[in-house]
């Protein structure tokens, strides 16, 4: 066999193996981005897919109970009360420090039949508005955690 044939075959084997791994990886981990109204419009179809839903955290809705955290989000820029989605999280990774009232949050997970969204991962970005007085809250009291994706390095 000519060397170039051998190289061709080897390269084909390598590339197809990697492609196979990649396709499997995509199938297993793909997550659909949805806004809050899109999520609510999906109906039953929403229950079977991994979803990532984003919205603004409703003021005062963040509640901690031991390891579990719940909060509500509305469409970015505000929305009607009917458009609220309740997010439930009890994962092991720390929540982002940036998750607080008014922040934009992204939750990865699955919608449950009761309408709450069980998140496996939460990302958050602080609202860009200049707000609040310094030193009003002591650290540790606010139920905030940290998580990398939250930090746009800008």
């Amino acid at each position: 066999m000519k060397p170039y044939m051998k190289f061709g075959i080897l390269i084909a084997v390598v590339v197809s193996t990697l492609a196979w791994l990649a396709i499997g990886g995509v199938e297993d981990t793909k997550t659909y981005y949805k806004t809050v109204p899109e999520l609510q419009a999906m109906g039953q179809a929403a229950l079977s897919k991994r979803l990532r839903v984003g919205g603004d955290v409703v003021k005062g809705s963040i509640q901690r109970n031991g390891k579990e955290v719940t909060f509500e989000i509305v469409p970015i820029g505000g929305g009607k009360p009917a458009e609220r989605v309740k997010i439930f999280y009890n994962g092991n990774d720390p929540l982002p420090d940036t998750l607080r009232d008014g922040a934009q949050a992204l939750a990865d997970g699955r919608l449950q039949p009761d309408g709450t969204f069980h998140a496996a991962k939460i990302q958050a970005k602080c609202a860009s508005k200049y707000e609040g007085k310094p030193g009003a809250v002591k650290p540790g009291q606010a139920p905030t955690y940290s998580r990398p994706e939250a930090t746009s390095k800008s």
Binding site: N65, C126, G135
Partner: protein, 673 residues
């Protein structure tokens, strides 16, 4: 002052356009006067951008909060170091920083190369200045750093700024962006020389010899930058990882991968005259990935990946990249005759082949990472639905690639050029292979069942053994011949061929890093709510909260939990994880406490106060072997620096074949091979 800064940038913009035109026209007409003018203009651009940058830094340090940029990224209570770091802490400033580094590089290139490489220099200058013009367009017209708040028109005067994002107020984060930028921007130089030599129709590899040091140094900066980012994520973000396959991280990794491929495949061109087109493609690809990385980080395309705010700056980058790629492709096609290969592949088991597969795997990894990062954008374009892929996707593709590359790290440098005999393979690899199998069987017997981890540890031993035996054989030979002590002979060996032995040391560093990566297969974690005085366990550690304290300073308020650590009833230390609340930005951060040891790290995060009573929610992790990543990094750093030292003896390429023809034991041949 803001007027002076803006004016300096506008002038720099005009002068850089002049430098671009003067070098192109001067190059075409061989007009020495115009060329000299363009070189002076390059110095002028640097001076003007330096002035603008100095003004911005001055405003940041002195708290001129009339400026939007200063008000949004600095405040009075911040330490001076972070005030300066705020220069690259935000959009406008970091793009100015990009421009400034580019101008500095251009200055140095023109200053050091204007005499020795006359024929291609006008084109090199032109490429550098074209890039400079692009960034100055951004600095002057798209994201100007000297905007003033419209005080009096609805905005009250600001006595103090918002401060730098607290997560960025950490020493590695202060120097991580400059390192990464030095690496990103630096690749414009090899690219400019490659394209310059093509435009000037210069046959041969002169651009490669000229830029070898640049390439290594910028690669080193990229490596330092990426590792600092990993170290920052590990010690600041509190989730215990160092790599999350975040788009921003991927953006920094992509050019590093192609740069690594380039550093290897360039040897094929130097020694065999092969892969000439490929090398131009790689160096251009790296440059455009650097620009693309900046775009991903800076444009908000990343945020749009996360469904966050979008910025228009991405269009400018996309245009620049599109024009650049189109120009480069046209140039390569047009100058194909200067890029003819001088020899051909002969055998699958040969040095050439190992370089080929090294490049194939690196590029496959680069493509997979790029694909995964852009998947939401691609899927939205194809079927209108934004779909993202997650860390498991990246791991599934990149772990096998990484292991195969690790394997090549051991095999590649010892396989002969052209073709290898079974005999030489046996001599070089028999014992390392036996050791590898022995270790894998031993670990399996000890209860390790993770296939990838077994392979990785085995390969680490295999590669480490081949490298050490190379050093050992060479050192013993020199020690015997020159009657030197073992240590002197070791230094002599390395000094005789710094590229080869420096390269081995870099490979050794990579092996150590892989040991650290593999440790992740055995991570443990626990999240617990504990009352004061109570204990909980993770791994072999027994943890007990003994005290909760708090306090504050100008910049932030803090709260610490003192946690006593015992193993087997014996106290071995105290860790104090901390939570901070930065006053101005009202953002909380957690300062994790880590007990770093070479065998494993104990990592505590103070997540929050307990809901009831006096206690805390603590996240505890045990990370086996993770310190080896940082140890490996230092070894890579030392190895790269050794590569930069000139070799004592000019080696000749033909000697490399000695390994294959079976007289490898002879000392000086080995040392020079």
């Amino acid at each position: 002052m803001e007027n002076l800064g803006s004016l300096a940038l506008l002038l720099a913009f005009s002068v850089s356009i002049f430098a671009l035109l003067a070098s192109v026209v001067g190059g075409l007409r061989k007009n020495g006067f115009l060329l000299a003018a363009s070189q002076r203009a390059v110095y002028g651009v640097w001076s003007l951008i330096t002035l603008a940058s100095a003004l911005l830094v001055y405003a940041l340090v002195n708290g001129d909060y009339r400026l939007q940029y200063v008000a949004l990224h600095a405040n009075t209570a911040m330490p001076v170091m972070y005030k300066i770091a705020a220069w690259w802490g935000g959009q406008e400033g970091s793009l100015l920083f990009w421009s400034w580094i580019l101008a500095t590089y251009s200055f140095v290139v023109v200053l050091t190369n204007r005499k020795p490489y006359r024929p291609m220099m006008p084109w090199v200058t032109a490429i550098l200045m074209a890039t400079q013009v692009f960034f100055l367009i951004l600095n002057c017209f798209v994201v100007p750093p000297f905007n003033v708040w419209a005080i009096g028109k609805g905005i009250i005067n600001l006595p103090d700024g918002q401060g730098l994002n607290p997560l960025l107020q950490y020493w590695t984060m202060a120097i991580h962006p400059p390192m990464l930028y030095l690496g990103y921007v630096g690749f414009v130089v090899p690219f400019a020389f490659a394209v310059g030599s093509l435009i000037a129709r210069m046959p041969g590899d002169e651009w490669i010899h000229t830029t070898r040091r640049w390439t290594l140094v910028t690669w080193l900066f990229q490596t330092i930058g990426i590792t600092l980012g990993m170290g920052w994520a590990y010690s600041v973000l509190g989730w215990g990882g160092y790599w999350g396959w975040d788009p921003v991280e991927n953006a920094s990794l992509l050019p590093w991968i192609t740069a690594t491929a380039f550093l290897h495949s360039v040897m094929m061109q130097e020694k065999k005259g092969m892969m000439k087109i490929w090398n131009i493609v790689l160096v251009s690809g790296t440059f455009f990935l650097c620009i693309f990385g900046t775009m991903l980080t800076r444009s908000g395309l990343v945020q749009s990946v996360h469904a966050f705010a979008v910025s228009s700056i991405g269009n400018y980058f996309a245009t620049f990249i599109a024009i650049g790629i189109a120009g480069t492709v046209w140039l390569i096609l047009d100058r194909m005759e200067y890029l003819k290969t001088e020899s051909h592949l002969e055998s699958v088991v040969s040095r050439e082949s190992s370089f080929l597969f090294n490049n194939l795997f690196l590029l496959a990894s680069c493509f997979a990472v790029l694909w995964g990062t852009l998947f939401p954008v691609i899927s939205e374009a194809v079927n209108g639905e934004k779909i993202s892929v997650d860390a498991p996707f990246f791991n599934r593709v990149n772990i096998p690639i990484g292991l195969f590359l690790l394997f090549l790290t051991g095999v590649g440098p010892l396989v002969a050029w052209r073709r290898s005999t079974v005999d030489s393979l046996k001599r070089n690899f028999l014992w390392p292979a036996i050791a590898m199998l022995g270790l894998m069987v031993g670990l399996y017997g000890a209860g390790v069942r993770n296939g990838y981890a077994l392979m990785s540890f085995g390969l680490c031993l295999f590669v480490g053994a081949t490298i050490l035996s190379e050093f050992y054989k060479g050192t013993v030979a020199i020690a015997a011949k020159e009657s030197m002590s073992f240590i002197n002979a070791f230094v002599e060996l390395t000094h005789r061929n710094t590229r080869r032995y420096g390269g081995y040391i870099v490979h050794m560093g990579i092996v150590l890093m892989f040991i650290g990566f593999t440790g992740a297969a055995f991570n443990r974690d626990a999240t617990v709510e504990v009352q004061m005085g109570k204990t909980f366990n993770i791994g072999r550690y027994e943890l007990k909260i003994t005290e909760l304290k708090d306090g504050e300073n100008d910049n932030y308020a803090w709260m610490k939990a003192a946690v006593d650590i015992s193993v087997g009833g014996e106290k071995i230390g105290t860790l104090e994880p901390e939570r901070r609340l930065y006053k101005v930005s009202r953002q909380g951060t957690s300062e994790v406490a880590i007990r770093r040891r070479l065998n494993e790290d104990l990592y505590l995060n103070f997540a929050a106060m307990a809901q009831q009573g006096q206690g805390a929610i603590i996240q505890a992790y045990v990370f086996p072997l993770v310190s080896w990543i940082w140890v490996g990094f230092w070894v890579v750093l030392i190895g790269t620096l050794i590569c930069l030292v000139p070799s004592k003896i000019k080696y000749s390429y033909a000697r490399t074949q000695v390994v294959a023809t079976g007289v490898a034991a002879k000392p000086e041949q080995h040392a020079q091979a």
